[in-house]
């Protein structure tokens, strides 16, 4: 196996690739802050002098590819961590992993990389993209809904999310619609929902779209219809939607109020440092730092023995705030999934809260296709 | 055969009939002046003849060819060129380049992607000649936008001349050209007489009566009289509608 150029020196260099400008910057910043929180807490990751280089991919895949090249070829980093978005991941996976450098995705988990195109140098601490949608599908199925209204933006991830939902939901649909990417006003869709009176609405509206939808949903007086979503109502959008989102449901692998010591340390530390409630973006990046720390420590700082390093990463020997965490054969996590609900927290801020566990030690649907 | 034949041409802007059933026959080699009050429709007629404006009815023939449906560039290629009343040049080009483009158009073959046009001596030489005819050769290398008003008017004429048309439509070529120079200008046109047929719109009656072989008078879109300069000059209808008393004094 290739030994990347930076493996032999005695500094541990980590490159973070996140979207730090434009509207999705809120997500990128959470992830960056989550990673830095862990790095700061641990100090020297794996006992090595640690250097972290943060780059902004600006949401542009070609630029991200270049920045990734820059990290591996010029800066000789040992790990690349990131990104938020699938299209960015697709752009950087080749330049990073082809040099033998380890890439850890802390959010994007595209199906190809989980399945046929799985890659020994690629790990993720998040999930496979479909999984959160499957959680909602399973919940809808369990509730016995038979008339769910599906609404997602018109692009690849939107289509995947409807497919993911329908993986585990077998009931009928009141409508399956695709909205324009970046849509501002949902009055037309809300009118349809009001007209159809479905059992529930399932949606996937990341970022500003989600904020608009949630606000308008409650303004249109539709709060009576259950609102199931993924990546729509979370800690990055709740500060803007506030009460309008309270009670809305989502699927996730974690929530800030989970009751375990590791989580307490993480959430309290994050709130103390950044004055905001962390979301999954922060948690998964936090875990990436913990993962690197554990693996590097295991190999005693010798990054040239790649087999040993990969074995150490695979062990995933750290305490994740989400509880159980292990890697499947495609280097995607095997973890539990929950139904979470938006609540107003005791400290006055807004966050999600675990309502019930939906899947236990859930393996994604693509792992079988991985020949690794 | 006539050079330019106009039959029953009409044009309306909304309710306003600007040219109303205009018929004209311009003989080869003659200078045919069109005079008339402001807003009578002279410029509109020229625009219709040159193809810049479509017509609502009627026909135009150049020689024996019906050109009513042709576009402006196509008419130019057949030898019908015009000058503009309100100066219309290429401001960022030098005076010479302005004219050279007209020469190039006449020669055809502008889909040449190679060769440096600025070095084509033949083009420049022909352009310089046209400039000289308009009395502007001393300003060849000046950008058109930094010419004075009168110089602009000359450039306008030089461009029209450089297209070497068989019929030339001139819309107030003398406007803005000062006294002494106007005389040379008239003399120049006189010299060109015979080389092409000209339709001349002018409000400068000295020039019209010196140059024109025949004069048509356009009032409210209709031709009210056509005749020799002498006949027109003494036509009471024309005096009342257009010439007024100024000419009497002159």
């Amino acid at each position: 196996q290739d030994v990347p150029a930076g493996a032999s020196d005695d500094v541990l260099k980590i490159g973070l690739v996140y979207t730090l400008s434009g509207p999705p910057a809120a997500l990128g910043e959470q992830a960056r802050d989550g990673f830095l929180l862990a790095a700061e807490k641990i100090g020297e990751l794996g006992g090595m002098k640690t250097e972290i280089i943060i780059v902004d991919d600006e949401g542009k895949p070609d630029l991200a590819a270049q920045k990734a090249n820059e990290l591996v070829l010029r800066d000789n980093v040992d790990f690349v961590v990131g990104p938020i978005f699938s299209n960015i991941l697709m752009a950087i996976v080749q330049p990073v992993t082809s040099t033998g450098t380890v890439l850890i995705s802390t959010n994007a988990g595209t199906s190809t990389l989980a399945g046929e195109a799985c890659n020994p140098n690629f790990y993720t601490t998040s999930y496979q993209n479909d999984q959160n949608h499957e959680v909602m599908g399973a919940y809808a199925q369990a509730q016995g809904y038979n008339n769910v209204f599906l609404m997602t933006p018109n692009y690849q991830a939107g289509k995947d999310s409807q497919a993911g939902f329908k993986n585990s939901y077998k009931g009928g649909t009141a409508g399956e619609i695709y909205t324009e990417l970046g849509q501002l006003d949902f009055s037309s869709e809300l009118a349809q929902i009001a007209a159809f009176q479905p059992d529930a609405v399932f949606t996937f509206m990341p970022g500003g779209m989600g904020v608009n939808l949630v606000k308008q949903y409650s303004q249109a007086g539709l709060s009576g219809i259950p609102f199931l979503s993924a990546f729509t109502v979370d800690e990055t959008t709740l500060p803007a939607t506030q009460d309008a989102a309270v009670g809305m449901l989502g699927g996730a692998n974690w929530a800030p109020d989970m009751d375990n010591a590791a989580n307490k340390e993480f959430v309290d530390g994050y709130i103390a440092k950044y004055g905001a409630v962390p979301g999954t973006y922060a948690m998964q990046a936090y875990d990436a730092a913990q993962l690197i720390n554990s693996a590097v420590a295991k190999v005693g700082g010798d990054l040239t023995d790649r087999a040993a390093l990969h074995a150490a990463i695979k062990e995933a020997d750290f305490d994740s705030p989400r509880g159980d965490f292990s890697f499947g054969k495609n280097n995607f996590p095997i973890q539990d999934f929950y139904l979470v609900e938006a609540v107003k927290r005791e400290d006055g801020m807004y966050g999600t809260s675990v309502k019930e566990k939906i899947f236990d030690d859930y393996v994604d649907n693509y792992a079988d296709q991985c020949k690794m | 055969m006539t050079s330019l034949t106009v039959r029953n041409l009409t044009k309306s802007f909304g309710a306003l009939k600007v040219t109303d059933d205009v018929s004209l026959a311009v003989e080869p080699g003659e200078i045919h002046a069109i005079i008339g009050p402001n807003g009578a429709g002279k410029t509109t007629l020229i625009s219709q003849l040159s193809g810049q404006l479509g017509s609502d009815g009627g026909s135009v023939s150049l020689g024996d060819r019906d050109i009513t449906r042709l576009s402006m560039p196509d008419r130019v290629k057949l030898g019908l060129a015009r000058s503009f009343q309100i100066t219309s040049v290429l401001p960022g080009f030098t005076t010479l380049e302005n004219v050279a483009l007209a020469v190039q158009a006449r020669e055809g073959s502008s889909f040449r992607f190679f060769g440096t046009v600025a070095r084509e001596e033949a083009l420049n030489r022909a352009a310089l000649k046209a400039l000289a005819e308009a009395g502007l050769d001393h300003r060849a290398d000046v950008l058109a936008k930094s010419l004075s008003h009168g110089e602009h008017r000359r450039l306008e004429l030089a461009i029209a001349l450089a297209t070497e048309p068989s019929v030339l439509l001139l819309d107030e070529p003398l406007a803005g050209v000062g006294g002494e120079d106007a005389e040379t200008f008239v003399a120049n046109l006189q010299r060109l007489k015979g080389r092409f047929t000209m339709v001349l719109i002018e409000h400068d009656m000295d020039a019209v009566f010196q140059l024109a072989d025949r004069v048509s008078v356009l009032v409210y879109g209709r031709i009210i009289a056509t005749g020799t300069p002498q006949a027109i000059r003494s036509d009471p209808q024309v005096r009342a509608a257009y010439l007024g008393e100024e000419e009497e004094a002159a």
Binding site: - | F13, I35, G36, P37, N38, G39, A40, G41, K42, T43, T44, Q85, I86, T87, S146, L147, S148, H149, G150, E151, R154, E172, A175, G176, V177, G178, G179, E180, D181, A182, E183, H203, M205, D206, A241, Y242, L243, G244, E245, E246, E247, A250
Partner: protein, 228 residues
């Protein structure tokens, strides 16, 4: 009224005016004469501050307004009929007249009386007028600012003889009403009927000034500008 002293100006690197001196007194009609490209328009533009003078002074009513913003010069009592008309194409005739109007004895009605043609076309857009109509409009527009000194740069270009005669009559009337006029025009014979003094510009310098009788008596100037 207007006092121009040692005016120098130009465009970019090229200097066009090399010291222009002349004055227009209250109620006086003065002409600027000269061949094409000698600097007449440039003189007017530098008076109005549209071209910034490089030297010399422009005083209006005794106030030094050299190189002031154009609107201050106009507000000091100068009305402008620019060369080439400069009609506002996106305004209709009436709007063209009203947009920059200032109160005084010239009203919309008086302009329409002077140019009935404009009344007929009052709803036409500026760029849908014949050349002559635009010229009438430019004159009307300047009068609507009710100036004490009207500056006309080739204001009769493109006008039919009949209308041109009307303009001269109008200018004579203005003069009788005590207004001052500075005019550039190639119809010098018509000007001699009512202009008081003439200023001949050549290559950016004043080469001759004199009264109308002096002009008529001076053979070489007369030769050049009057074709009688």
């Amino acid at each position: 009224m207007l006092d121009v002293n040692g005016l120098e100006a130009g465009y970019g690197d090229s200097q066009i005016l090399f010291g222009i001196d002349f004055r227009v007194r209250e109620g006086e009609v003065v002409t600027l004469l000269g061949r094409n490209g000698m600097g007449k328009t440039t003189t007017i533009k530098s008076i109005f501050g549209l071209v910034k003078p490089r030297a010399g002074s422009v005083k209006i009513g005794g106030k030094n307004l050299t190189g002031a913003d154009p609107h201050r010069i106009a507000l000091a009592g100068l009305g402008y009929v620019p060369e080439g008309r400069q009609i506002f194409p996106t305004l209709n005739v009436e709007e063209n007249l009203r947009a920059t109007a200032r109160p005084g004895k010239w009203t919309l009605q008086r302009i329409y009386d002077l140019f009935p043609r404009l009344h007929e076309r009052r709803r036409n857009m500026g760029n849908q007028l014949s050349g002559g109509e635009q010229q009438m409009l430019a004159i009307g527009r300047a009068l609507m600012t009710n100036p004490q000194l009207v500056v006309l740069d080739e204001a009769t270009e493109g006008l039919a003889p009949l209308i041109r005669a009307d303009i001269w009559a109008c200018l004579e009337r203005l003069k009788q009403e005590g207004e001052a006029i500075l005019v550039i025009d190639k119809n010098v014979d018509a000007l001699t009927r009512f202009a008081d003094r003439h200023v001949v510009v050549e290559k950016g310098r004043v080469v001759w000034t004199g009264s109308t009788p002096e002009l008529l008596a001076s053979p070489q100037v007369k030769d050049r500008f009057l074709h009688v």
